[in-house]
């Protein structure tokens, strides 16, 4: 009765906070939305759920309020949905209990964190060096996806890429990308393309630089920039001319400009 693939009877929503599934979901959602040890993540909202279903395959479960079931049925009809995927129907109050959002979505997925992909040594990449702000990281993933750089390498100390905040800021870009997390600077030897570092105060001017392609762009910590050990490995360091007289670009803004310049240099 609780699964919408029984089309005959409307499902009876779960209401109890003591249900072990609900407890698990709430723990996960409230702890940033990703549990690396269990390999599980909480993906909330129709846009992200659609991106996950379209690209990342079969979730552990769909979680829906009664209002969200229409979306699930439309998706099932238009795109198909593995009948083995359970749909857990919950009351809106229970969704509010689970979700960490102020305005919870009517639909969410419990899903497995995608397996770490293998390194693609000859492919372009974006390397994130200890970036802290989920909005910045999500924006950079969107820019990388827009400009066709699919390999993302997050060094240890970077915010968790599959966390809810980064997923939301990424607007589905995650599911188009090959994401390697928890990497060490030494791992970058697997990349056989030139490393390009960005700096706010030294290096060649981006608009004058002869950019190699493919390449791997290094983007650094919001306050500290790219760490010295990585700067030293870079084939080229570039900086963006800022005629306004301030060193004031946000790292995700700088990344967008660099990735766009790379596209033009192809």
């Amino acid at each position: 009765m609780r699964h919408t693939h029984n089309e005959q009877a409307p499902p009876i929503p779960l209401t109890s906070r003591d249900n072990p599934r609900i407890k698990q979901l709430r723990r996960l959602a409230q702890a940033g939305g990703v549990d690396r040890r269990a390999g599980l993540m909480w993906v909330e909202g129709d846009h992200l759920c659609a991106a996950l279903l379209a690209r990342a395959g079969v979730p552990v479960a769909l979680v829906s309020t009664p209002a969200g079931l229409a979306w699930v049925e439309t998706w099932r009809r238009q795109n198909g949905l593995d009948p083995a995927v359970p749909v857990w129907t919950v009351t809106p109050a229970l969704m509010r209990h689970i979700s960490a959002l102020e305005s919870p979505a009517p639909i969410a997925c419990l899903a497995r964190v995608p397996a770490q992909p293998t390194w693609q040594g000859d492919a372009p990449a974006v390397v994130l060096d200890r970036l802290q702000d989920p909005g910045n990281v999500g924006s950079i993933l969107r820019s990388a996806s827009a400009f066709g750089v699919r390999q993302i390498v997050a060094l240890r100390g970077t915010v968790a890429l599959w966390s809810s905040k980064v997923l939301r800021a990424g607007m589905g870009a995650h599911f188009h990308l090959h994401i390697l997390e928890g990497c060490e600077p030494g791992d970058l030897h697997a990349l056989r393309v030139p490393l390009l570092a960005t700096s706010s105060h030294h290096g060649q001017w981006l608009h004058e630089a002869d950019l190699p392609w493919p390449c791997a762009w290094l983007f650094g910590h919001e306050g500290q920039g790219v760490q010295a050990a990585l700067q030293a490995q870079a084939a080229l360091t570039v900086r963006i001319a800022q005629p306004g007289g301030e060193e004031s670009l946000n790292v995700a803004a700088a990344a967008a400009i660099c990735l766009h310049a790379s596209v033009e240099a192809r």
Copy 2:
């Protein structure tokens, strides 16, 4: 005794939540940090306070924990500080009571919202059409400042530019800019430079476009883009080639790319 310009005696911090000043500060900080009617804003953290003091003149008051007084004294010694500016010293617990941040800063300012500047019809501008996300708006202000576009026009429906979240994301850029808020689309006739709209799905390719300078860039709502009435006023609509095959750029990333392209076109 409570003012640090009495250098002889260390100030006795305020402790009472019932102090009318403290009530006012808390109300302001908890309500997003700006009170348009009273013309007051809450500016928190040493970086923003320094930008305000350096550029925007005399705050109503400095608010400091005992730990923040060293910063105030250093600022006073190195940059001067109008002796008429009171320093209200508060206990760390009281600062936590006032502040809306999880980790309140030791130093903040109560300041007047800068007066709306006059339109500069011939100067370049950035027009914000109902942008909602404080991080995006702050990032765009930083990019505008970096690339020397000082006139910012926020149309009604855009997030409050002097609110705490936008101030934080702006990292001090606000104090280098001429910010006009609460404008209507009809007001844009005051701009005598060409309006350039951005679109995700039509217009000239940015990398092929002949960009006029000076110009006014229009950046639109995160979901809806630039409204049709403004698109119609634009001398040129441009879009950014996204060979990754997704329309996935964040608006602040797109703005950075457009403003950077404008600099190259000068």
